[in-house]
Amino acid sequence: MSTLEVRKTPTRLLLWFLLGSMVVLYAFPFLYLLLTSFKTPLDALAVPPKVLPDEWTLANYERALSREGVLASFINSVSAATISTVLSLVLAVPAAYGVTRFRTVSGRVFVMAALVTRMIPPVAIGVPMVGMMRALGLTDTPTGVAIAHTTISLPLSIWLMSSFLESVPDELDEAARVDGAGRLAALWYIILPVVRGGVAVTAIFAFLASWNEFLFALLLTAIRAQTTPLVIANFQTQFGLEWGAMTALATVYSLPVILLTLLLQRYIVAGMTLGAVKG
């Protein structure tokens, strides 16, 4: 398989050891967050710090989840991420199909524009967007946040979907067309089922882009539409340093996506490496 595989056993053992320690070092920070979330709130701040809780407790979780606005923020995060994902896919799939199937000048310009959009600092469009959302009546709503997040995920989605559609042979469209299917029907019934893995990857990345985003959510929401990252950030300013509850909420927010990564790692690797390696 691998081209550079080392075969000598002693060297291999050394390399395994090196890699093992690297992975342990890499995994430790989150593991420590997880362990801290099960300590008593006082133990979380103990000097010297302990790695394992003396007493395992869910107190931090109770505190974090019962705080006002926390559950609502989860609903807001899920709503914003879902709306943004759907919006990205609905806009990106046809666009990417148009770009890859019918190689036109406008298509090239379009992909270039999408690429360049990636370079725009969010703070540059975040500032004027505040006024825009106010004018549209979307300030402090999940829809407003979702639209802002789509400005990040749409270029990425177009890029990813174009790469996936590139790998579908043209003959498939042609066969569908010969059989009398219209062009939209060919996309919907023939092409999309073939690239459903790619659509899934694109959806995951669009969802995560919104789920983890902070700046737009900060600028565009007040109280009603606050997403969870904002609430996590507020734990330390508003109520002093409540590390215990913060670690619990951070765990609740991160664990689902970490588990998702492990389950879908094949797809995530595909999405991450696409484009880069093709160059």
């Binding site: 691998s2 081209t3 550079l4 595989e5 390399l15 090196l18 890699l19 690297m22 890499y26 995994a27 920070p29 989150f30 420590y32 000097v47 710090p49 790695v51 919006l87 806009l91 046809p94 666009a95 148009g98 770009v99 019918f102 190689r103 036109t104 090239r108 690429l115 360049v116 990636r118 370079m119 725009i120 600092p121 969010p122 703070v123 540059a124 500032v127 004027p128 967007m129 006024g131 789509t150 177009i158 996936f164 590139e166 043209d170 003959e171 010969v178 700046l215 990252p229 996590i232 950030a233 330390q236 590390w243 927010y253 991160s254 996506v257 970490i258 790692q265 690797v269 595909a270 160059g279």
Partner: protein
């Protein structure tokens, strides 16, 4: 895992589509070119409305002095905001910090990411489980990563100083204030970013390594090349395009870093971690100077776009990924 899975990273042989554009499809009423355009229009309209239009507003605002109150007065001041911004030491320092932060993050990520990718590669398929474990920080929100590392690096009860103390490197747990000492804070705030996305470098470089044909390496070995010269003379040059893309993608992201720094230090101590994103945000929100913030944003944007255009021109080349 095998690379020939969905979204494979290998370049597939692609049929040419030159003839496609002009031939009307069977039973279609509009030609292909117009149909392609129609498919792109919704996404293009969205980008125009929510990316291009705010950018236009940003640039226009940068020529005005604007009251922070909604609907407040605005006065045209020409290039005054730009003169102020370019002459301000805060802006110059923030620009230098942004550059420093980006260089730091990308360098560490590249070196660590390459080391991990080479290790994974030399251990072959059995390292697959560890590869999965290496992936997880990519999914964590930057805000969580920032807070987590702030917790680890805190002077008093932070685990990092405790470890250094136990190892005898520190005489006291409070000896290093990672985030409170202005001379090292910029390095310390970069740590979570490095932790968060070294995996991305590893993934991309690993995929690139898998695409290097084995016989090239074998030939080098037979010619008596050692591992070090194989790395520098053969592997790295062959990876060049992959490395370039990975560095640009990560460089751009690091230069945009906002929440991960904000949550650790808020730009302090003594502004030592205030990068451009933070400065623009503070100018807008805390100091209530939308005009000045817009001028800063415009300059920042132009700098990023120049980098973008150069990078795209050098690496992706217009029109295709077939390069």
């Amino acid at each position: 895992m095998s690379v020939s899975e969905p979204g494979q990273v290998t370049t597939l042989p692609r049929p040419t589509r030159a003839e496609h554009g002009r031939r009307p499809g069977k039973g279609s009423r509009i030609d292909d070119r117009r149909f392609a355009l129609l498919l792109m229009i919704p996404a293009a309209l969205f980008m125009l409305a929510f990316v291009a239009w705010p950018l236009v507003k940003l640039v226009v605002d940068s020529f005005f002095e604007i009251s922070p109150i909604a609907g407040g007065p605005r006065t045209f001041v020409g290039l005054d905001n730009y003169v102020d911004v370019l002459g301000s030491s805060a802006f110059q320092a923030a620009a230098a910090r942004t550059l420093g932060y980006t260089t730091l993050v990308v360098t560490f990520e590249f070196v660590l990411g390459l080391a991990a990718a080479l290790l994974f590669n030399s251990l072959g398929n059995r390292s697959r489980i560890l590869r999965t474990a290496f992936l997880y920080p990519l999914m964590i929100a930057p805000i969580v990563a920032g807070l987590l590392w702030r917790f680890l690096l805190i002077d008093n009860f932070g685990i990092v100083n405790e470890l250094l103390f136990r190892l005898g490197i520190l005489n006291d747990r409070n000896d290093i204030g990672w985030l409170s000492d202005s001379s090292i804070a910029l390095f310390a705030v970069a740590v979570p970013d490095i932790w968060l996305t070294t995996s991305f470098m590893t993934l991309v470089l690993f995929a690139g390594l898998q695409n290097i044909p084995g016989d090239i390496i074998e030939a080098a070995r037979i010619d008596g090349a050692g591992p070090v010269s194989t790395l520098f003379r053969i592997i790295l040059p062959l990876l060049r395009p992959v490395i370039a893309v990975a560095l640009v993608v990560r460089g751009v992201d690091a230069a945009k870093a906002f929440d991960i720094i904000l949550i650790q230090t808020g730009g302090g101590p003594q502004n030592s971690t205030e990068t451009l994103s933070l400065l623009i945000y503070q100018t807008m929100v805390r100091f209530g100077e939308p005009g000045t913030a817009s001028a800063m944003g415009t300059l920042y944007l132009v700098a990023m776009l120049v980098v973008a255009v150069v990078a795209v021109g050098l690496i992706w080349r217009p029109g295709g990924r077939q390069a």
